[in-house]
């Protein structure tokens, strides 16, 4: 392990990238993005071996790519909470579920909520809230839930927050399962709307067959979210999060309003999670409570910390690995939770800063290690 990391350090990819001229970086980034858009059609050997549909039982490659990108969006959102602000949110799946349920409840003509609105205002059976309107609704619902959950609990120590958010994730799922008259109960909601678009070959633009269109849509949103998150990281708010994460008391003394910024992180993270859930629900065109088990929360946390909490590139790598590998090796899928658990323990014990660490965070952990050694030497 240490030899590998030494070898990686020898390459100094990060430093080379940073010291490259600006035009090289821009061109490199554009090429990378173009490649990402081309990925669903990747057919050049040997690169095509990364596809997941090589054998007949494999999963549809474009759908897998879509799922990877949706999880990347969620992981970038969770990274704002865990990586930037240092708050452990174990109920992130709750916001993800809220996003998916919002678009289903308001957008599907067969949802109990829409049916109630139809009969109340005498609208036709076809009527539902248009998809575009569902986006702000989903974000607003997730954001509100984030504030409602965060306001009473963010004043507490971090560990309490972990348990309370865990409970929140379960509350959302159990409520969705038990509130039959509103959420459709265990049967879920069908006819979830898809984004609008021109009809091609007699099918609507976003349909269940042409998954690459969904992938491109998610990719555009991911690029937007990554850009926003990296702007946020280096803003005044981002610096406040950093200060709170490292030492809340010291930050408070320096005039950083801890509670306010923590709530911001929580709300921003929640709304991104809601957006990811919306994309997921819309692509499935079907939403049911069992899709939002707590394991998904742990998966999101694992993506963030295994990749490198606090570093957006690291988080994207983590999300990619943890979504792609189980799909590529589907025959091992039932071992996935076990592998997660093992990976979480191993990576964290051997490399507490993650696979692709945030440089600042790695330096902080190194610093603490020295302090711990000095303390041990004193004693």
């Amino acid at each position: 392990m240490s030899q590998i990391s030494e070898a990686l350090r020898g390459l100094r990819l990060g430093n080379r990238w940073d010291s490259a001229p600006k035009w090289v970086r821009s061109v490199g980034l554009l090429l990378f993005i173009a490649f990402a858009f081309y990925l669903p059609f990747l057919n050049i050997l040997p690169f095509a071996y990364i596809r997941t549909d090589l054998n007949p039982t494999g999963s549809d490659w474009a759908s897998v790519l879509f799922l990877i990108v949706v999880y990347m969006i969620a992981a970038v959102g969770l990274n704002v909470v865990i990586g930037f602000a240092g708050l452990l949110d174990l109920g992130y799946v709750g916001f993800y579920a809220l996003g998916a349920y919002s678009v289903a409840l308001f957008g599907s003509p067969s949802s109990p909520v829409v049916e109630a609105i139809q009969s109340r205002f005498g609208l036709s059976d076809e009527w539902a809230v248009p998809f575009v309107m569902c986006i702000p609704i989903a974000i607003a619902m997730a954001l509100t839930a984030g504030v409602i959950l965060g306001a009473p609990t963010l004043r507490l120590r971090g560990d309490y927050l972990a348990i309370v958010t865990l409970g929140f994730g379960e509350i959302i799922r159990i409520t969705a399962r038990n509130l039959d008259p509103i959420t459709g109960g265990a049967a879920g909601i069908t006819q979830v709307p898809v984004p609008p678009g021109p009809e091609i070959d007699g099918r609507s633009f976003f349909n269940t067959i042409d998954a690459e269109r969904w992938y491109w849509l998610a990719l555009v949103i991911l690029i937007l979210i990554v850009w926003l998150a990296s702007r946020l990281e280096h803003s005044r708010v981002g610096r406040a999060w950093l200060a709170i994460r490292e030492d809340e008391d010291a930050a408070a003394v320096m005039g950083v309003a801890g509670f306010k910024f923590k709530l911001w992180a929580f709300a921003i993270g929640a709304s991104v999670g809601g957006l990811a859930g919306l994309l997921f629900g819309s692509k499935q065109q079907y939403v049911e409570p069992n899709a939002f088990m707590l394991n998904l929360s742990f998966l999101f946390v694992a993506m963030v910390v295994i990749g490198g909490s606090g570093n957006i590139v690291g988080v994207l790598v983590g999300a990619f690995l943890l979504t792609y590998l189980p799909e590529r090796f589907r025959e091992l899928q039932e071992w996935r939770p076990f592998a997660f658990g093992l990976a979480l323990v191993l990576v964290m014990v051997l490399r507490p800063q993650g696979l692709v660490p945030s440089r600042r965070r790695a330096a902080e952990i190194e610093d603490r290690r020295h302090e711990a050694e000095e303390a041990a030497a004193d004693a």
Binding site: I82, G86, L88, L90, P152, T153, R155, L156, G158, D159, Y160, A162, I163, V164, L166, G167, F168, E170, I171, I174, T175, R177, N178, L294, F298, V301, V305, S309, E334, W335, P337, F338, F340, G341, L342, A343, L344, V345, M348, V349, P352, I365, R368, R369, E371, A372, E373, A375, A376, A379
Partner: protein
Amino acid sequence: MDFDALISGLDRHTLDGITRGSIYALVALGYTMVYGVMKLINFAHSEVFMVGTWTVLGVYTVLGATAGMGVGAVVGTTVLALLAAMLASAGTALAVERIAYRPLRRKGAPPLIFLITGIGCSLVLVETFGQVLKAFFGPPFGRVTVNVPSVIETKVVFTIPGLDLPVTNTRLLIIIGAIVMMVALDTFVNKSRLGRGVRAVAQDPDTASLMGVNQERVIMLVFVLGGAMAGVAALLFTIQYDITKFDIGFIIGIKAFTAAVLGGIGNLRGALVGGLLLGVVEVYASQIWDSSWTDVTAFIVLVLVLMFRPTGLLGESLGKARA
């Protein structure tokens, strides 16, 4: 909402709640002691309990225990199962400490990382019983609910006069067993030399180590004691509910943690108060609404307690508990 069902059977539901709460309280001890000493939620503690329930099942299977044995055989198998469960749970807790927490303590990692390795250990343990053991040994391991033989036959021992409330032997055993274990632990922590070490580290780790308290040993002791209590809880749980499952620890763990917070985390007596209270509240809630909402009750209680009384009902730390 159905208050009539609650009121008409209030005595019965209260007894039910106390039984349930006794088990929560025992598991809560593990959380509260580790938290008191290390300021850390041991996420894998729920799985320490789960391992205990499987150990009980294992002992019963090996000994061929079933319902309807003689009194001597029942007492013998139960005591053996109890000891085995305590050992297995304490061993698991110790292993978790070794693998997931000690290396990080050496590295001085931030608290978040401890939580994450705890979750990792919890997943590994759950999956070991849900998947890994199934691959090697086949059923009963796997993702299904497994029946544990009810070795002790449920009989009505006496009826509480005035209330006309029948008390069964299993309930009596659970309530008395839990309270005896808690009193024993409380006495140990408050009276013995080792217990004084625990309280000293909880209060001020640096000063305690200056005074010659071996912090590593105290931490190990805390994990062993908490694990053993979870083992006791596991036996009592199987006596009452006759089942186990690979993920049975999850929901009990959440409840027990809620109980610990409710009573005041870090406070041993608080765990008892919190556990009993939570058990009763839950049973009442399942009568008023619907049993499918029971699990939500614990979470809502937890949020409410944290909002209004973040230190819990008997909010003080293990270190400050009567020196």
